[in-house]
């Protein structure tokens, strides 16, 4: 125990860095595990995506930051930042694209999905997303909302 305290006294900066590395590394791998479990367990593509893309990209970010912390060099830090930046920039877009495309090709949606306000909003010809009817319903029109009714 005293050994440890001496260690703490002499190398506290390095120990904090190490602890950070460990933290990042562990959370990164756990996030990956989370993503993997999610992608296996979830029942439709949207929920899988929820699990996979987010946890996955965060996991990468954690692990890459762990590398940056570990090596303590600017080059590595810059590179790590680039990776994180790029992943954070692209993942949401990729997810959005796939989700949207999946909706176009009518990927089956989990039957527990309580409400789908997107239903019927896409123009079949042009793939443009119309939302005018939402405005109308918000303005108090009696027209029923085009979304799915909630399950019984």
């Amino acid at each position: 125990m005293t050994d440890f305290l001496i260690l703490l006294r002499d190398h506290w900066l390095s120990l904090i860095a190490d602890a950070l590395v460990i933290l990042l590394m562990v959370s990164g791998t756990l996030l990956f595990l989370l993503a993997a479990v999610g992608i296996v367990r979830m029942r439709d593509v949207y929920t899988r995506m929820q699990a996979a893309s987010k946890a996955g990209s965060l996991g990468v970010a954690c692990m890459v930051m762990a590398v940056a912390m570990y090596f303590k060099s600017l080059n590595v830090a810059v590179e790590a930042t680039l990776v994180v930046l790029f992943i954070f920039l692209t993942t949401p877009i990729a997810t959005h694209l796939i989700a949207r495309a999946g909706y176009f090709v009518r990927v089956p949606i989990w039957d527990r999905t309580a409400r789908d306000e997107l239903e019927g909003c896409y123009d079949a010809e042009t793939h443009t997303l119309q939302s005018d009817h939402l405005d109308e319903s918000a303005a108090g029109t009696d027209a029923p909302p085009p979304g799915r009714s909630e399950p019984q």
């Binding site: 367990r41 929920t47 995506m49 600017l74 959005h96 527990r112 306000e117 997107l118 997303l129 939402l134």
Partner: protein, 158 residues
């Protein structure tokens, strides 16, 4: 924008001069640069830049917090029995005058936060269609998005 660039340049110059050129020195350089800029532009103290830096930092921490919280939620959802989940796709109204960049950042941040996923932006840019992992009250969920991310983002960008 020019002030941001100037601030970064100052940070870089500091790190290069002070050696070694590393992250810590850059951070110090940025802080010093901020002060220098503030001091050196007495006529322009009202420039939104000086506030935005803090808002930006705050926004970053907010996002970080959201990420951590949401991830924990997500972890719970992932391992708990699936029967308890209630996913939804909701049309979340957004402010009408958002720029392209703001919409993109907003939707990206929403997607990055676990539990929500922007599926698309409506043609008239009034709605974000978001897939929620679990929603108890749809209206509250919509409000959260508008109040949370949208507001804080606009604080930084405007």
């Amino acid at each position: 924008m020019s002030k941001l660039i100037a601030n970064f340049l100052l940070a870089g110059a500091w790190a290069a001069a002070i050696q070694p050129f590393n992250a810590a020195n850059l951070a110090v350089g940025f802080a010093l640069g901020y002060i220098v800029l503030w001091v050196a532009s007495p006529s322009d103290r009202e420039s939104p830049y000086f506030k935005k830096v803090f808002k930006g930092i705050g926004f970053a921490f907010f996002t970080l917090k959201e990420l951590v919280v949401a991830n924990i939620k997500m972890a719970v959802w992932t391992v708990m029995p699936l029967k308890r989940l209630r996913p939804m796709i909701l049309a979340v109204p957004i402010q009408e005058d958002l720029t392209d960049t703001e919409i993109t950042i907003l939707s990206s941040l929403i997607t990055l936060t676990p539990g929500t996923l922007t599926m698309d932006v409506s043609e008239n840019r009034r709605y974000l269609f978001i897939h929620f992992m679990h929603v108890d009250d749809p209206e509250e969920a919509k409000r959260d998005v508008a109040e949370g991310f949208q507001r804080r983002l606009l604080e930084v960008t405007r």
